[in-house]
């Protein structure tokens, strides 16, 4: 985290409670060092984040690579920059705030406050945001002196839209964090299966493979279903999802 940003956060911390939260968050930040990508945590390129979370590619890249909004869990390997499943979900929710005009600095401040409140590196992945999101964000709004943030969270449409995204997320009972995402009927993004690539529900068959096989075999869904041990409906799910995220392909 750069010094300028620290100064900005401290300047924002105009009361004791906020100052305490900021100090706690800075402590947490120190504890969070990037780690090597590992199985079970999902590994995504920025282009994948852009597709799965419906964020413009340049926006996602600037958020992670510059650290302007989010810090990735992983260190880069051979200049290959990747993020985790929890980073992906954080980006998806952060994008909701940005869509409603909340300034980047304010989203980051809210993110940092929630890190301490919810005691996690990934507050936007926390189940409480789904179950008690409105209450939590209204409480945070009192600490964050940004009218647009208050306006956003006072807007019912904002919560409805955020909830429509969070409804697709399943949470872990142990960590209370996002466990997998259902971006499309019959399709799951589970960081523990196929390294987090979108797969057909209950299988490890990636939608990418199914869609390509479908196109290569004259759109013969029966053949593709028999190749990968799927039902015709599952093939259709995979094709529909891939069409949604890679319309030009």
């Amino acid at each position: 985290m750069n010094l300028q940003h620290d100064v900005w956060i401290r300047a924002k911390a105009s009361n004791i409670r906020v100052a305490f939260l900021v100090r706690r968050r800075l402590e947490i930040e120190k504890m969070k060092a990037p780690v090597i990508p590992a199985l079970g945590t999902g590994i995504y390129h920025i282009a994948d984040v852009s597709r799965y979370a419906h964020i413009p590619h340049t926006t996602a890249r600037s958020w992670f690579k510059s650290g302007i909004l989010l810090n990735a869990d992983y260190c880069s390997i051979d200049d290959d920059y990747s993020v985790s499943f929890h980073d992906l979900i954080d980006a998806m929710i952060a994008h909701q705030f940005r869509k409603y005009g909340v300034a980047m600095k304010t989203v980051r401040l809210a993110y940092q406050m929630l890190q301490t409140q919810l005691n996690t590196f990934h507050p936007f992945c926390h189940r409480d945001l789904y179950t008690n999101g409105k209450r939590i964000l209204i409480r945070e709004a009192k600490n964050i002196k940004a009218a647009i943030f208050r306006d956003a969270i006072n807007n019912q449409q904002f919560f409805d839209e955020m909830r429509s995204h969070l409804t697709k997320v399943s949470y872990s009972d142990s960590t209370l964090l996002a466990k997998w995402l259902n971006p499309w009927p019959g399709v799951v993004i589970n960081p523990s299966v196929a390294m987090g690539e979108p797969v057909l529900s209950g299988t490890g068959v990636t939608t990418f493979v199914v869609r390509n096989a479908y196109n290569a075999n004259r759109k013969n869904a029966d053949l593709v279903a028999s190749l990968y041990g799927l039902s015709v409906q599952q093939v259709e799910f995979a094709v529909g999802f891939e069409k949604e995220i890679r319309p030009a392909a």
Binding site: K32, I36, P37, A38, T116, V205, L223, Y228, G229
Partner: protein, 167 residues
């Protein structure tokens, strides 16, 4: 269809070592059966024969890690080859990986079978020769290439934290 193919390359293996392959879920199941039919020396096991479908990566890698002889993983989704981060994540697995190039799923099924069978002897030869745990790529034009040795990845950090910030 397959009776019309010239399968000399598949029947005549240079190496007489018995190899144990494990095909992931993105490797077509009928192709597993074809490989078993045409190479009597090797055994190819599809994931669904031994583990429920959709099993987590760590779990199936742990299960096949206990097999003797150690299996070689056949993967059908070659996009992993483009991600150093994903390859680095495989470092802990004590096995070779052979991935079809990412263009394979875009081939008509028959062409896919022909190309894999043509490359099969090379695949068996390469994995037999290589001592270090390695990721191989089955090329689109046939044959196999050494893609990355897993030992090349230097791991400095620990496994990721669970996501909880702690006290």
């Amino acid at each position: 269809m397959f009776s019309k193919l010239n399968l000399r390359w598949a029947l005549k293996r240079k190496s007489d070592q018995q190899l144990n392959f494990f095909a992931d879920e993105n490797f077509p199941v009928p192709l597993v059966k074809i490989l078993n039919s045409f190479d009597g020396q090797s055994k190819v096991t599809a994931l669904e024969e031994v583990i429920p479908r959709g099993t987590e990566d760590e779990e199936w890698l742990r299960v096949i890690g206990t097999w003797q002889p150690k299996p070689i993983v056949l993967g059908g989704d070659g996009r992993i080859l483009k991600s150093a981060a994903k390859l680095a994540a495989l470092k802990g697995a004590n096995t070779h990986f052979v991935y079809l190039a990412d263009g394979y799923p875009s081939l008509p099924w028959k062409d896919q079978v022909i190309k894999v069978l043509k490359s099969w002897d090379d695949i068996c030869g390469a994995v037999t020769k290589e001592k270090e745990k390695t990721v191989f790529r089955v090329r689109m034009q046939g044959g196999i290439e050494l893609w990355r040795r897993l030992s090349e990845f230097k791991i400095h950090g620990d496994l990721p934290k669970s996501g909880q910030a702690g006290a």
